[in-house]
Amino acid sequence: MESDQDVAISTRIRIARNLKDFDFPLYLNIEDADKLTNTVLDTMKESFDDNYKFFRIRDLSVKERLMYMEEHLISPELTRQIDKSSFLLRGDEKATIMINEEDHLRIQTLLSGLNLDAAWRLCSEIDDKLESKLNYAYDSDLGYLTACPTNVGTGMRASVMLHLPCLSIINHMNSLTEAIRKLGLTVRGLYGEGTEASGNLYQVSNQTTLGQTEEEIINKLNKIIIQIVGKERNVRKYLKEKKGFELEDKIYRSFGILKHSRLMSSKEAMNHLSALKLGFDCGYLLNDSGINIIELMIEIMPATMQKKLNVDLDKNERDKIRAEIIRNHLSRMEV
């Protein structure tokens, strides 16, 4: 049986907002950056009853910053202006409000599966609450004004993370990426711009932000994602029927390596975990101990691993501990 997260893993929407009375973050001095931060925090206190935790980047260790990045809860950009930036993380980790990123506010929602409507609703709700007290920089012609003209208008970037191992096996990713780009969308690896698609994970998102409503952007993205998901599922079915033995072999080899390795780089781990997930989703392997592969992929990222264990590790030690973590997770799996 196909789970609904067999291909579409998660949905993320972020919107950029700026306050009228402040220069954009890059040109703010630290005092004004703090003033702006306090204005936002006051608004949060007045308008929000959900439980948010507040973090200043300067109070976090480098490892902690990386961990939040690896979990996609904050953007890399947020950690570049150490003295000015901070973020609020909702208790359930479904929403982050980043303060003094490239823009004054970046509101982000992160939901599992393909869930664009709900992610947009949540994002827009938070936006409304903030806007009830804050004066946004808005122009009736250009919409929400942003530090970079590439984001002006809706200020919205909607993206869906996809697991596409079989489209990769049949070497279809290049032409698919090309086709998606022609439709005005962007395809990137797991950690954004320029990162390679490790673990066969891809993020597909809208490229432009001006001239369409948020709903139009989301509907278009949704339609295309559904098509890609359908393609991946078809190829899975095809490979299972026509090349079932080869596919099964690939999956079991990966399983064997994951179950018995003593040293494992994150790149190697990502590729084998991708095959393992495929094994679960195609019914070659039974996930009886309920392993969440995507969570495991994040758990073995360098910073997250070191933060959780609270130690500094060199590469060789990391590869050793990574292999150990994976073996532990798979130890209860029967074949």
Binding site: L26, Y27, A137, Y138, D141, L142, L145, T154, L210, G211
Partner: protein, 169 residues
Amino acid sequence: MLCDKCKVNTAKLHYTKIINGKVEELHLCEICAIENQDFDMDNPFSIHKLFTGLFENIKDKNEESTEEITCSNCGLTLSRFKKTGKLGCAKCYEDFNEYLQPVIQGIHGHKHHIGKSPKRLSPDIKLQKDIEGLSVELEDAVKKEEFEKAAEIRDEIKRVKEQLRTCKG
């Protein structure tokens, strides 16, 4: 430590790069770091670079006529913007409008925002938006040859325009 490039701001970002076996170090402030993204190992392909290229093309076209344009609010110069690709404040959009318009059109293929707008818009922007909305309705009514309805909408537009005039004082 001062920024290696502007020698004004404090250096916040530190880079090392090995070129032909020689280690090169660079200490930059946040603003200069953005101009130097090719030095940034974490960001081998930067979409920003792509767009600054776009901004620079605009410069070439207008080269003869340009004297430096400066934002009247934040003091950012247009040439600085062309280097970083980042504007300084909301007012920059007005003061650099002539240069930004073709850039924005080039990036997005559109000139006008039609999505969400703040609920607490200042009254004149709100009225302006109302007029735009009514104009679309009017066009639609004319197209469908619903002339009675069209006349009603036209009166409504007149009324809102009058309101806008008094509101602007």
